[in-house]
Amino acid sequence: MRLFTKTLILILILFAGTGAAVSILSARSLHDSLSSEFQSKGQAIAQGIADSSTEILLNRNLATMQAVIDQFTQIRGVAYVFVSDAEGEVVAHTFVPIVPAEMNALVRPYAHHGTMAGLRTTRVDAGALGSFIHVSAPILAGVAGNVHVGMDLGYIEQQIWETVLDQQLLMLAMFLIAVGIAYIAVNRIVQPITRLAGYTQSLSAEAFESGLDIPDDILSLPQKQRGEIGELADSFISMEHILQQYVSDLKDTTAAKQRIESELNIAHEIQMSMIPKIFPPFPERRELDLHAKLISAREVGGDFYDFYFIDERHLCFAIGDVSGKGVPASLFMALTKTLFRATGGPRNSTARGILTHLNNEISRDNASCMFVTAFCGVLDTETGEIEFCNAGHNPPFVILRGEVSELPGTGDVALGVMEDFEYRSGSLRLAPGDQLVLFTDGITEAMNGDDSFYSESRLSALLQKVEGESSRNVIRHTVEDVREFAQGTPQSDDITMLVLGYRGANAESHPTLAVELANRNTELQRFNRLMEDFGAKHGIPEETQFRIRLSLDEILSNVVRHGYEDESDHVINVIVSWDGHEVTIEVHDDGKPFNPLEAPEADTEKSLEERAIGGLGIHLVRTMMDELDYRREIDTNVLILRTGPRDD
């Protein structure tokens, strides 16, 4: 009880100070009053004896003299009385056994002319005998001698000591009483505070879930303790009520929010699953180099892309951007995309036809007045001919024989704006090696910190720079460049890009290796053998093969070791493809979600034991491979690794 200790010290200081002050003061005043009292008493006695003993002395009757002075030694404080005669001889005294030399020294014979006439008072310090107020009274003006009376100063000292001792005892008693009262008072103050403190501490551990469970002693505090402590207790109690209400509300809100969030997540996943994400989408179609990417700004976005073969020869592809954002936009996008799939077919195999039909479908019951800009094209894979239709979308870029140019628009309005609108189509012919680049305004209108747009011109310049790269690399470079431009400014709109490269009708197909592995370490060796055969057969450089084996060793053993929480058998799919320039490896496993790209960078300064699991392995894979991609598809981790031959 620190408060009591402080109070105790305070009281102690107070009492010690008061005690000392009172003792000093009373000792001084007692000394003064007793001294003066003693002095006047001594003077009265001396004068009295002197007045009454004239006769006795003159009669030479020393026995009577002695009897007279003997009486006075019984008076409190009188230490001695003695009488000296005119010759200065002590003729009667109360000393035993002899008159001390100090006293004899005080006696002087009668000097004529009355030099000793009158009362004399002095202080005498007679060593071991003590200190005295010494009063001398002349008898008959000194002619008959003097009476000497000594008042004991030691008695005064003793009185003072006794008084001071009494006072100190009284002070001690008062101190003890005060301490007792203080203890009770402080206890009365501190106990409820301690109780409150304990209560608040328990509050911090409380979940505020169950009903209010305030202890009775706290509940009764506001009644028992009026004043600040009562008010404090009161506010604590009402605070708990409010907190509980708040926590309850918060829980409801959080639950609702979590529900919405999880629903949004599911919507996002559904949305993302609606657009094709496996590239190359048609590995057997050597004439195509198709790649696309959609990076949502929020959980659900309004962008989409799609492609499918209308027949063996014609590939229909589209990119779109629903006006608005969020859930309404995504729903509208889902509608549009579904309709887009449903619309195209052998009976409706032109972009113009598809968009016209799509527009009518959307416009018919467009109560929410939403619209979609879209670019749709149909590629003849035999000829490289593209028939296209642009419903209010950003004009795509086309790279023809290394030259980037904007594809002129068809001047048509967005879908859902006007029913029965007559869309026009345009046409274009891609030669092998040419690319058509579709994108949404999420790229060109990406903003940096200075509120300036990324712009078509910058995109055009970039495309020129990466001319000759694969579709996938064009997208990769573009996304990187946009990110670099944005400099951390949050992405405000979906970024979507689709690049269609044409390799010509006679292009060779890419060799592919697809393997199903069990979740056992021994399977690694089997994969390594198959990979070796595949590499040797298709002329993948030894060096590249080595890096691939090393990386997959790491990735696969990681999946086997950490990926599964149960003991049952699982299948890991590995697909390896080689386009002559680059090896792409996809690893599909149904283990627990794990994004190796988010694994912390390895701290190579740390010892092996201290490093986080997987950290070093991923670090190794990052250096071995040129690019890593990860996504979670419903219940499957998809990791994509790419690398090409390295010169060194």
């Binding site: 009669n59 030479r60 009757n61 026995a63 009577t64 002695q66 009897a67 005294h93 002899i98």
Partner: protein, 413 residues
């Protein structure tokens, strides 16, 4: 005739008044206050026994003018306030005829103002057992009659004898009170008359007993190396001083006054001394009555007879004590003589004693013979009947008259 009648009536009134003052048809009550307990009790008890023995003798043969003489005695323990209280009790409650046989200087000195207070009632104190001066001098000498010689007589005699044998360096050991001062003054005066000064002095507290330590006083006295010590003290203190002086190997002659109960002092010393005579040599005790061994004196013979017959009586206050009475003693003899002189006075006062006649009667008594070869005289300014001092020394456990002071003369040693 009428005038004569008036005188007779007045006389009758006086007579009736006198009878009320301690005198009845059968008794004359006399009052005594003395130490029957404490360190000086031997004095009070022996004095009482001596007096009572004589009064019993007188009462046995019919009393004084047909009245029994009753001694009413109270203990004051040698304490002055108690002596005053006893005196008031005796005068106001007991209404004694006279005060008699008081013991001690400090007690008597403090009682004197009371006598003056009661002087309108003609109260007198007879024969106090003290040689001090206050009651021998004005104004109190008017109310006191003494038998014994004074301390001045004793101390002067002792001092003169010591001076005569060449021991003029005399120290005084005295009780720190009026008694001690009285003896101290006596020695001082005696020395002054010879042109000498007191060599040294040391005092002790009244009430000190034989068991107290007096070595401090012995040291003080011995430092000045006196040739003789005159000791003015009670018998226990005297015995204590003598013991400590002798134990220190100092054989200086020590003289004591009559106030010392010589036999009691001697008994204490003999009981304490390591070898015979170790503590009891070189002592001289002044006495104011002759030795009770001088049986050729009629008073001594009669005293011994009375003690043999009536000496078994103790004062009421001492009956329960452990005091062992002495067969005979100087103090007892003094008590006996005091009673004898008191009875003589009472007889002289006639069959109708009244206080008013006391002073005149006593002051007119001359040549009284109590049977110890000293004619006693009172007079208007002479309230002390005797001035005789006797010097005694212990021999074989008994104080005998000291015949030859030369034993201690400086030349002879």
């Amino acid at each position: 005739m009428i005038r004569c009648l008036q005188i007779l009536l007045l006389a009758g009134a006086f007579s009736a008044n006198a009878v009320a003052q301690g005198v009845t048809d059968d008794e004359i009550v006399i009052g005594m206050s003395a130490a029957f307990t404490g360190h000086s009790r031997a004095l009070g008890i022996e004095l009482y026994r001596g007096s009572q023995a004589y009064l019993d003798t007188v009462n046995a043969r019919g009393g004084v003018h047909g009245r029994q003489v009753v001694l009413k005695a109270y203990d004051d323990g040698y304490d002055p306030p108690r002596a005053i209280a006893n005196t008031i009790q005796l005068l106001e409650e007991d209404e004694v005829f006279v005060l008699f046989n008081y013991v001690g200087t400090p007690t008597v000195t403090r009682v004197l103002p009371l006598l003056r207070q009661f002087s309108v009632n003609d109260v007198y104190l007879f024969f106090p057992f003290t040689g001090a001066e206050p009651h021998r001098q004005q104004p109190y000498s008017d109310y006191v009659f003494n038998l014994r010689a004074s301390y001045f007589n004793e101390t002067e005699g002792l001092a003169r004898n010591f001076i005569d044998i060449g021991r003029s360096q005399i120290a005084v050991f005295y009780q720190a009170d009026a008694y001690g001062r009285s003896g101290w003054e006596g020695v001082r005066n005696a020395l002054a008359r010879a042109g000498l000064k007191m060599h040294s002095e040391a005092s002790y507290h009244r009430g000190a007993g034989f068991n107290d330590d007096f070595s401090q006083q012995v040291d003080i006295l011995r430092q000045s190396n006196p040739q003789a010590i005159i000791s003015v003290c009670s018998y226990e203190a005297c015995a204590g001083l003598i013991r400590d002086v002798r134990a220190a190997g100092w054989d200086v002659p020590i003289a004591n006054l009559s106030f010392v109960a010589s036999e009691s002092m001697l008994a204490l010393l003999e009981a304490a001394e390591p070898s015979a005579g170790a503590y009891t040599s070189n002592l001289v005790n002044a006495q104011v009555v002759p030795s009770y061994e001088e049986t050729d004196l009629p008073a001594v013979r009669e005293y011994r007879l009375a003690m043999d017959q009536y000496g078994d009586q103790l004062p009421p206050a001492a009956v329960d004590g452990d005091y062992q009475p002495l067969p005979y003693s100087f103090v007892g003899l003094e008590g006996y003589l005091n009673a004898r002189l008191m009875v003589t006075i009472l007889e002289r006062l006639g069959p109708d004693p009244i206080r008013a006649r006391i002073r005149n009667t006593v002051e007119n008594m001359r040549n009284i013979d109590l049977g110890f070869d000293q004619p006693l005289n009172f007079g208007p300014y002479r309230h002390q009947a005797s001035e005789a001092v006797y010097y005694t020394t212990p021999v074989d456990g008994v104080f005998v008259p000291l015949d030859d002071w030369d034993t201690w003369s400086v030349e002879s040693r």
